[in-house]
């Protein structure tokens, strides 16, 4: 198992290098004067010149790259002009909000999508199956920001069931003592049910928005994987040996169907991390996504670049986790490593 982890860790190195190179290039291909961009729209020529020197933009590219990597190693992603804080600190402070929202949405969609996909495959051609097809096609067609706005219109504006779409807690409530940074977890840990309920009410709509978005690919792949497995030779063997329907579906079919589902989770995470940006903007969620969007509007580029790099590194880590999970489920990969 340790071997497996070590092997997988090594395989992430090229991706990490690629990501850093691409991010470095993105900081250098800014059209016009990079220093002017970093200085912001109101900077004087002297300030721009100073920034140019500070950023080392007057040096040859390899040297700039070495400096970029050295800064990264120290966790230095530059300064945000809007907040006046180091980008790394800003991102760290806002990451829990984004992580809580993403995971909430993911768990919600898994709870719905996997049983839906399984039922659709086992009862092929039934109502559930048709429902699954509709969900799968509609889900991928819905612009995630539009779903969010629809939910706000219906549940906040028309029905008044949901609180105003303005952040993680309404302005009068105070956040729970920080433990994980996840309000739902921290409030429960502190035994503060009041705050838990308030946080849940706030996260419900953005969470559902993300869940609807992630539902489609997970339900689709679960159904397809189950259908493929149910049609395979070893299911025929299991049926011919008289194994019960439950054993066949759960122990034999589902565990095999999990392999493509787990693989797809990588893609789902990619979608979710992107959709997160849009959902955070719609719900004024104080996460890294809305931070990046605010910086974009202010033409403040260091936070945007820091955000892109941080998301890429997070995504690589998630994929590593997925690979390891896959290895646990599938004995073939374990022995191949």
């Amino acid at each position: 198992m340790l071997r497996l982890v070590a092997d997988r860790l090594i395989t992430t190195v090229p991706a990490l290098v690629g990501v850093i190179v691409v991010c470095f290039l993105l900081t250098r291909v800014l059209p016009g004067d990079t220093a002017a961009y970093f200085a912001g729209p109101t900077a004087t020529p002297q300030a721009i010149e100073q920034i140019r020197r500070e950023l080392g933009l007057d040096r040859p590219l390899p040297e700039q790259f070495a400096r970029y990597v050295a800064d990264l190693a120290r966790g230095d992603l530059g300064q945000s002009l809007t907040t006046g804080q180091p980008v790394a600190a800003d991102l760290r402070a806002r990451l829990p909000a984004s992580a809580e929202l993403t995971l909430f949405g993911l768990v919600l969609s898994l709870i719905v999508a996997i049983p839906l996909g399984i039922t659709a495959a086992v009862r092929q051609g039934s109502m559930v199956d048709h429902a699954c097809r509709i969900v799968a096609t509609t889900g991928v067609s819905l612009p995630v920001f539009f779903t969010g706005l629809l939910l706000v219109t219906v549940f906040y504006f028309l029905l008044g069931w949901a609180p105003a779409p303005l952040g993680r807690l309404d302005t009068f409530a105070s956040p729970p003592p920080e433990l994980t940074g996840f309000y739902l977890v921290d409030s429960l840990a502190a035994g503060d049910l009041e705050t838990f309920r308030a946080a849940l009410a706030q996260i419900a709509l953005p969470g559902i928005t993300l869940a609807i978005f992630a539902l489609a690919p997970i339900a689709r792949i679960t159904r397809a994987a189950m259908l493929a497995v149910l049609a395979s030779d070893f299911i025929r063997t299991a049926r011919a040996a008289g194994l019960s329907g439950r054993t066949v579906v759960i122990t034999y079919a589902f565990r095999n169907a999990m392999l493509p589902v787990v693989t797809t989770l990588g893609m789902v995470f990619s979608f979710l991390l992107g959709a997160n940006v849009l959902v955070e903007k719609v719900f004024a969620w104080p996460g890294v996504g809305s931070y990046a969007v605010e910086a974009l509007i202010a033409s403040d580029f260091a936070p945007v670049q820091g955000f892109v790099l941080a998301m890429a590194i997070l995504y690589i880590a998630l994929n590593l986790l997925i690979d390891l999970t896959y290895g646990v489920i599938d004995p073939r990969t374990a022995s191949a490593a």
């Binding site: 395989t11 070893f234 040996a241 008289g242 490593a337």
Partner: protein, 569 residues
């Protein structure tokens, strides 16, 4: 036949709902199996033999249903039985084993656990003794170190070993009837013999009845008491095995028996009795050897160490961790020659290096060492990547194993046949030449404008042969050219190949796993094993007086129907 059959299928009709409406895959079929009896159900592809067995087990897929007739097992009406009752019967009273043993097992569950699942399901073992019973079941199918293999996953076992596990699983609950659906198709002939002997021995020891479903008459002849012959969903003949092969009553059975290669016959004997006007062939061994056309010396091929690459390279780099394993030597310095007008068989089981050898001679793969001298030139020295432009390229051509795979799905038959003509410079009169080639291979000119999916397997094989001979090659490499064909089509294609060789004066290098087929077409035979040649000699000599122990083993393993002369009834 005993008075009361264990299984009685009467008037069974199975329908499939398809796009073109309902199709009857099985029509009014009667089969009866008595206790202790082994019944073969024999037929070519599409005859409905497998569907019949799925209907008995009631494991037809969603589109299929039993439309009529009755299935009675031990007095129980299986057609009327509830699903719960069927589940109790499956695995405990009636078991089944399948083709492709490797995919017949759950790939991510230990084989021992899979056997335990069945034992527990039928209350044949509790949590206390399940493992011991599963290990015992593995031991019964002669799996060495059963306690250790209990923990193995299917991917770690060979095909033959997987089939043993499937048998252990099927027989774990001591059922009364075993249905074996093409259990050895795709396995090497020696493995086939071991598996079939094991099944025969176990079922005999337990007094079980067996249904053996196969396309191979030889296999049925060797292991069955009675044989039922099916064609297009119908039973055309059912008789004791002995009778059926000595005096087949139905015309279809006669054709099938004749088309099955067996010792002591010639190519023409494979064809139906009113043989189409065919010129007599020169006797196999009697060919006057010409000068050497192809001389292979010290040919070797090493592959860089295999090892499975991590499955999930898709995202995070594709670097392969760990040291590269030692190189594998697929062909180990072999030498042989093919003379003009001669046909040489290259025989061996899977992994023996015969395909690697032919691919190197074909100049699609570069050898690691050795020379390939063709028409006096060492073409082995020309890199495979550059050989496409070599003047000798049109002189060596090939007929592929799978006739479907060998044709571009987007090209008509005429376009496929014309391809070599166009590439090698003939742009005039391409169509007449195509038609001439089609005539030569017995392909009606009307079919020339069809796409591969509109042609039958035999027709596709003819297109592939026409393309191969379009350039008048000196050497034709035949890579298991009939392995994917039904036996009656095989008979026709083999005869066609023999005629073409006589008419066009080509030499053949015939790669095959089947010694009987090779003997019919070849003058000389080379037997390979583990990358080396173990025996070489005239076809008759190798088959009748094999010198190497391995050759003897190989010949002994091939089942064949009794060498009878089926006389017209």
């Amino acid at each position: 036949m005993t008075a009361l059959p264990l299984l009685e299928v009467r008037d069974l009709t199975v329908e499939f709902a398809t796009r073109r409406g309902t199709v009857q895959a099985v029509r009014r079929v009667d089969v009866a199996v008595a206790r202790g009896e082994t019944v073969g159900i024999v037929g070519e592809s599409g005859s409905g033999k497998s569907v019949t067995s799925y209907a008995v087990m009631r494991i037809l897929d969603r589109a299929g249903r039993i439309a009529g007739g009755s299935v009675t097992f031990s007095g129980v009406d299986l057609r009327a039985a509830g699903e719960r009752q069927m589940r109790d019967l499956r695995g405990r009273e009636v078991s089944m084993i399948f083709q492709n043993p490797r995919s017949a097992l759950n790939p991510i569950r230990k084989v021992g656990h899979q056997i335990e699942d069945v034992l527990r399901r039928h209350a044949q073992a509790g949590s206390g003794d399940a493992r011991a019973r599963a290990v015992a079941a593995l031991e019964q199918v002669r799996i060495a170190r059963a306690a250790e293999r209990y923990h193995a996953y299917p991917f770690a076992l060979s095909g033959g070993m997987c089939q043993r596990v499937v048998i252990a699983l099927a027989l774990a609950c001591r059922p009364q009837l075993l249905i074996a659906d093409e259990p050895t198709t795709g396995l090497d002939v020696t493995t086939q013999k071991a598996i079939m002997d094991l099944v025969a021995e176990l079922t005999r020891a337990r007094g079980m009845a067996t249904i053996l479903i196969t396309h191979d008459l030889g296999l049925a002849a060797a292991y069955c008491d009675r044989v039922v012959v099916m064609e297009q969903g119908r039973v055309v003949e059912a008789a004791a095995a002995e009778t059926l092969f000595r005096a087949p009553a139905h015309a279809y059975t006669r054709r099938l028996v004749r088309a099955t290669p067996r010792p002591g016959i010639g190519l023409r004997d494979l064809l139906p009795e009113p043989a189409p006007e065919a010129a007599p062939l020169p006797a196999g061994a009697g060919v006057v050897p010409g000068e050497p056309l192809l001389t292979v010396t010290g040919l070797a091929k090493d592959y860089a160490g295999g090892g499975t690459a991590p499955l999930l390279r898709r995202l995070l780099g594709r670097g392969r961790a760990g040291a590269a394993p030692a190189p594998v030597r697929a062909v180990d310095g072999i030498s042989f020659a093919v003379r003009r007008g001669e046909s040489v068989g290259l025989v061996g089981e899977s992994g023996c290096g015969k395909s690697t050898t032919s691919t190197m001679v074909m100049r699609l793969l570069d050898p690691s060492a050795g020379s390939i001298v063709f028409r006096g030139e060492d073409i082995g020295a020309v890199p495979a990547a550059r050989f496409a432009r070599h003047p000798l390229r049109p002189r060596i051509q090939m007929v592929f194993q799978d006739p479907t795979d060998a044709l571009n799905p987007r090209w008509t038959a005429a376009r496929a046949i014309a391809d070599p003509l166009l590439r090698f410079g003939t742009t005039r009169a391409v169509r007449p030449r195509c038609e001439e080639l089609a005539r030569r291979v017995g392909l009606p000119a009307a079919l020339l404008d069809r796409f591969p999916h509109q042609l039958s397997g035999g027709q596709k094989a003819r297109v592939g042969i026409a393309r191969a001979i379009a350039t008048n090659p000196d050497l034709l490499i035949l890579d298991e050219p009939t392995a994917a064909l039904d036996v009656s089509v095989q008979a026709v294609v083999l005869n066609l190949l023999a005629d073409l060789k006589r008419d066009l004066g080509m030499s053949y290098l015939f790669v095959s796993h089947d010694l009987h087929v090779v003997r019919l077409l070849c003058d000389r035979v080379i037997v390979m094993r583990a990358g080396a040649i173990v025996e070489e000699g005239s076809a008759a000599e190798v088959l009748e007086r094999p010198k190497a122990a391995y050759t003897r083993e190989l010949i002994a393993a091939i089942p064949h129907p009794p060498a009878a002369s089926p006389s017209p009834a």
